[in-house]
Symmetry: C2
Subunit: 187 residues, 2 copies
Amino acid sequence: MPTPDARERILETATRLFDRHGVHAVGMQEIIDECGCGKNLLYSRFASKDDLVVAYLRRRVEDWEQLVADAREAAGTPAAQLVELVREAGVRATAPGARGCPLRNTVVEFPGREHPAHRVSADHFARVRTQLRELARATSAAEPDRLADRILLIIDGLYAHGPIFGEDAAKAAVEFAEDVVRAATAG
Amino acid sequence: MPTPDARERILETATRLFDRHGVHAVGMQEIIDECGCGKNLLYSRFASKDDLVVAYLRRRVEDWEQLVADAREAAGTPAAQLVELVREAGVRATAPGARGCPLRNTVVEFPGREHPAHRVSADHFARVRTQLRELARATSAAEPDRLADRILLIIDGLYAHGPIFGEDAAKAAVEFAEDVVRAATAG
DNA sequence: GTCTATACTTTGATAGAC
DNA sequence: GTCTATCAAAGTATAGAC
């Protein structure tokens, strides 16, 4: 009977390595060594590296969903929730060893539109845009789509230069988001 | 007698391929085939792939300097120049086949801080921040550094999701920048 | 029977020799 | 310019431990 948590252990190890070094830079052998499992076990749970990468990305997509759920719970109004999203994204973007948005990075590492890893990420971004627009429509903003797209732009920018400029960038982004939400919902 | 423009031809080919497919995804052989040069010629002009990548990045840095120069010429006031920067960045970010900011992408592809390709890009981003702050200080903004960082955030966000959302994203980013500059220089 | 460990094959890369 | 050395990676097969 197969150990039920083997898959989870492997995926956890791979996630850590992929996040830190990028997908291309991490070999299957490295994951096996780090995880302490046999090669057979890994390939019994993930048929190929592509499969493992897709599982890694799905986990990161789930993380985003959790981030949205947290933001919804942490803030009372939809307007405050939009700001909270930026705050929570900033925490991730400036975490020690952070290397930008894992999903965005994977799109860069797999430019081919037909590649499964590319598709998972691209689908995610389309969904996020919709999510933010729905949230913005629940505010009093006269042009909610515009507000949502601006928040998304801030989040994307934060992920991109957070790892370089650090926590100051995160704080500045939150203040920026507050101003943007305030301006959009004023009057 | 060595052909003087051989280096240029090779670098041009490499630039096109690196931009489109990413550095890791392009082999030296691919560059040689595409360029029609011999392997010896390439390695006589660039000692290693790293050297070629660094030359590619320096070219992209020069491109940014040109973009800044163009923006300075195209717009009259420093405030308008900041907006113009966003507009010109948007053109690049949403060009057909664009894949985000080449310099940012290379940081992702070479996470090692000691890697020459990483260093060229990281130095560039520090410089850009300084550049924008100097430009913002020439406006009437009460807090020019904050304005500059916000414009930078918009540019970074635009490069990140321009390739996915297209020209609408570029137009929205320009309007966003206009609003931000207007708000910062008002009063 | 499930896992670990290792040897092997194939492929594709950089780089250098001639 | 072709040919080759070297190396690393993905994936497969095999041998052995509990």
